[in-house]
Symmetry: C2
Subunit: 311 residues, 2 copies
Amino acid sequence: MIDRLIEKIKEKESPIVVGLDPRLSFVPEWIKEECYGEYGKTPKAAAEAFLKFNMEIIDATYDLVPAVKPQIAMYEQYGAHGIEAYIKTIEYSKKKSLIVIGDIKRGDIASTAEAYSHGHIGRVGVEEMEFEIYKEDAITINPYLGFDSIEPFLADCSRYDKGLFLLVKTSNPNSGEIQNLDIGGELLYERIGQLVSKWGKGLIGASGYNSIGAVVGATHPEEAKKLRKIMPNTYFLVPGYGAQGATAADLAGCFNKDGLGAIINSSRGIIAAHKSKEYENKFSKKDFALASREAVIKMKQDLQNVLRTFV
Amino acid sequence: MIDRLIEKIKEKESPIVVGLDPRLSFVPEWIKEECYGEYGKTPKAAAEAFLKFNMEIIDATYDLVPAVKPQIAMYEQYGAHGIEAYIKTIEYSKKKSLIVIGDIKRGDIASTAEAYSHGHIGRVGVEEMEFEIYKEDAITINPYLGFDSIEPFLADCSRYDKGLFLLVKTSNPNSGEIQNLDIGGELLYERIGQLVSKWGKGLIGASGYNSIGAVVGATHPEEAKKLRKIMPNTYFLVPGYGAQGATAADLAGCFNKDGLGAIINSSRGIIAAHKSKEYENKFSKKDFALASREAVIKMKQDLQNVLRTFV
């Protein structure tokens, strides 16, 4: 997975992942009206509106970015219809040759972890038949349960060229409550960083990077710098840029000297750009996704300025 | 939630939760053939087979137990059809007046945590309409992200009389790798136990117990005893009995002197009882679920013997 991702990052010259975390308040009225007209004001209509919204965003940005990251919670809340929209969003993204990182933050043990792995990045069996269900290229995973909660995923990563991003240091204000506990000379997130490196040892690609990555919040630049040293071969999936308050300068420590090592997520800043002061009157209602395109271009320049300072 | 759960535990005289974690290998051939006949060997057929299987198990056990715990991974792996079967399993369980604990182990922040909460234990909005989607009474949650990943759920717990079980000490062999790290005079899981107690302070019911419970594995009896002291008002959801190796004696420390404080999960031991040596030739193929009934009765006696020793 990681070599495919890096190839696309180089090709698009942008380490950006578009977070497809739709909310109804982000979706333009004309899309909602179409869906409500067809299905009423129902979970099915909401899910359908998300899918149409995502397709517009993808169409307007896919040539500029290597990857998208749909957040499954936003879809899952609408039940089976939501899951259907999540899967169709992934299928559409892959048609546009985007790498898809499923932000699912699952974490469970034994046969349960296996079920998540088979469903999301592997194959599920029904007697002699095999099915690819969710088709993500990589997924986010919570490591709190230890190695036997990770191991079932590694087999599918290796078999199907997929990847994981394990939560190490998250971007939220209370992340330190547990993750920054002192475990005797080092902090918990540092230890988890070491474990993640160790667990992924067998999945280093030709690029020198590992298909088992880490989630490291841009909102904690000092911690990110430390983790960059602890896990030099690990790719960071970095949330927190933009809406959550982190600036491009905060991101510098997430990258390696080769200009690689991190992919930066922006969700609201891109997908809700048409609602922002900057773009709200700039495009017609039908062309709302062009605001997302401009937001991506601006973010790309912002990141290139950061990378220029040390590469 | 907790008062409703305790009332049912007393009424049924059994602190047992049936883990509805189906696999195709557990489902009798006649159910599978029916579903394959109708839908082919497809994810839809597998999901339908799970639902029919669950309904048989529920019919055979609902008068003996207070609660069921469907494990969402087993359903989610089959995509939207699986989620549909998960939801229908919950609806059927609630018709039989069972408390439903959704084993979803989600954990995320801000608006994402809110989406999980609204979908699973709250209401989701589509304009002025509100929908109950999953309808669990309680769900399991991973606390690694800290309080701001828990807070969005507390509002729905209080508003809709729902509950959470937060992962504190899980039952798997590698759970100690992170959970037992020494954070200076105490271990990480002990600290998380304290945090869970604190986070749930506002949700203590008339029973004196808290609607914010803890997952504590029966496979770690010494740790369970310590946690029982650290969090006296917290209900434990206890996996690990039976198939994972814990015996009734290992459970003693999970209960309080009032004979309450813990609900013990058994999945495979109950739902796959008809495949075990003990019961495999005892019932007709159509009546396979009577083996589950006998397994529940046996487990109930086993637990009553434990409780008798100290209540």
